[in-house]
């Protein structure tokens, strides 16, 4: 996400946040509508489950609504809501880890028309050419779920959501060096899990 887009986002967010802090529920609704698709991607890629994602998103926005009056604007709303989402999702994953693992039968369609997907599947390895969309997504999900929660978080934020190291650092409250280090080890593990597709 580039700086100009972030800045313009920040301006409109600040206005909506101020109105929400003044009790304007419609302003907060606008923020929810704006951030639902982005946070959906974050939570879904960390949980690999649609129902859990929907429930968690409700909890995340409810918590944000209850806390919005205390939001001081020291960071952008974008960073703030992402921090809430990451923390709540990590807490959820810890609880779920204690009570059982999620099944990976939740796969999505919709990428078959993506130019990048077409390019990869036509010019990639023989495995990649032969595999169907469902199989690929299943393998990607399985590989993601094999990562530790911290590693999965940085891969989701950096590779899937396209955030910068500095933004991830602010959201997670860790140094940029830690973010880069986690990314390096996560990529190395993913390379092993998905070696059939990249040889």
């Amino acid at each position: 996400m580039n700086e100009q887009a972030l800045s313009s986002n920040g301006d409109s967010d600040r206005d909506l946040v101020e109105r929400a802090q003044g009790g304007d529920t419609r302003a907060f609704d606008e923020l929810v509508r704006k951030y639902t698709p982005k946070l959906y991607g974050l939570v879904y890629n960390m949980t690999s489950n649609r129902e859990d994602t929907a429930d968690l998103l409700q909890d995340i926005f409810s918590k944000a609504y209850r806390s919005v009056r205390r939001f001081m604007g020291k960071s952008s709303f974008y960073t703030w809501i992402y921090s809430i989402a990451v923390n709540m999702t990590l807490n959820f994953l810890k609880k779920r880890g204690r009570y059982g693992k999620v099944s990976l039968d939740d796969v999505d369609t919709g990428i078959q028309n993506d130019p990048e997907f077409i390019r990869i599947t036509t010019s990639g390895t023989s495995t990649l050419r032969e595999v169907n969309i469902h199989e690929l997504q299943k393998r990607l999900n399985e590989a993601m779920m094999k990562l530790s929660e911290d590693h999965r978080t940085v891969v989701t934020l950096y590779d899937i959501q396209g955030l910068q190291h500095s933004e991830i650092s602010r959201i997670l409250g860790v140094s940029e060096g830690t973010v880069r280090s986690r990314l390096f080890y996560a990529h190395r593990q993913l390379q092993n899990f998905l070696e059939d597709f990249i040889k």
Partner: protein, 163 residues
């Protein structure tokens, strides 16, 4: 192209795992429903607190009622404490005296309850009557008696002799 770049390209495909159609609209409906429920719950909670506050405010408004209650409590406390301070109990706690007053002495005779213990020293009573070194207890029956200061008896006897 490095291996890591290949991995990143593969993983980036997951960005197409977007919410199903109508998800956002349905999600908004549910969120607004929950938001309204929470607001109603908060306002119901606030209303209850406000009513409780008003109830206690009204209760505290007639200050004369509180003053009256305090007065009653004080009266009860005095009533409970005063008889205790006026009792003339010895160590056995069975002796009670009431001043009848009059004459040359502040207290001339005192009606008392005689102790069950016949060996109890009536002289102990003098501890409770400042100015009298010794009291003579004269039983009057039914467990009561009259305590007369010895000095008073001596004066009466002196007067009788003079006559």
């Amino acid at each position: 192209m490095s291996d890591f770049e290949d991995i990143q390209r593969l993983i980036r495909l997951k960005q197409y795992e977007s919410p199903p159609k109508d998800f956002v609209d349905q999600f908004m409906d549910e969120f607004q429903y929950r938001q309204r429920s929470e607001l109603l719950r908060q306002s119901a909670h606030g209303l209850l607190l406000e009513r409780l506050r008003m109830y206690f405010d009204e209760l505290a408004t007639p200050k004369w009622a509180l003053a009256a209650a305090a007065l009653v409590i004080a009266a009860i406390a005095v009533w409970m404490l005063v008889p205790e301070s006026r009792s003339v109990g010895g160590s056995s706690g069975v002796t009670e005296a009431k001043a009848e007053g009059g004459g040359d002495f502040a207290i001339e005779t005192v009606r008392i309850m005689v102790a069950d213990d016949p060996d109890e020293d009536p002289g102990l009573l003098s501890e409770h009557f400042e100015g009298y070194e010794e009291l003579l207890v004269m039983p009057t029956g039914h467990g009561t008696g009259i305590a007369v200061p010895v000095k008073h008896i001596n004066r009466v006897e002196e007067k009788a002799e003079q006559k």
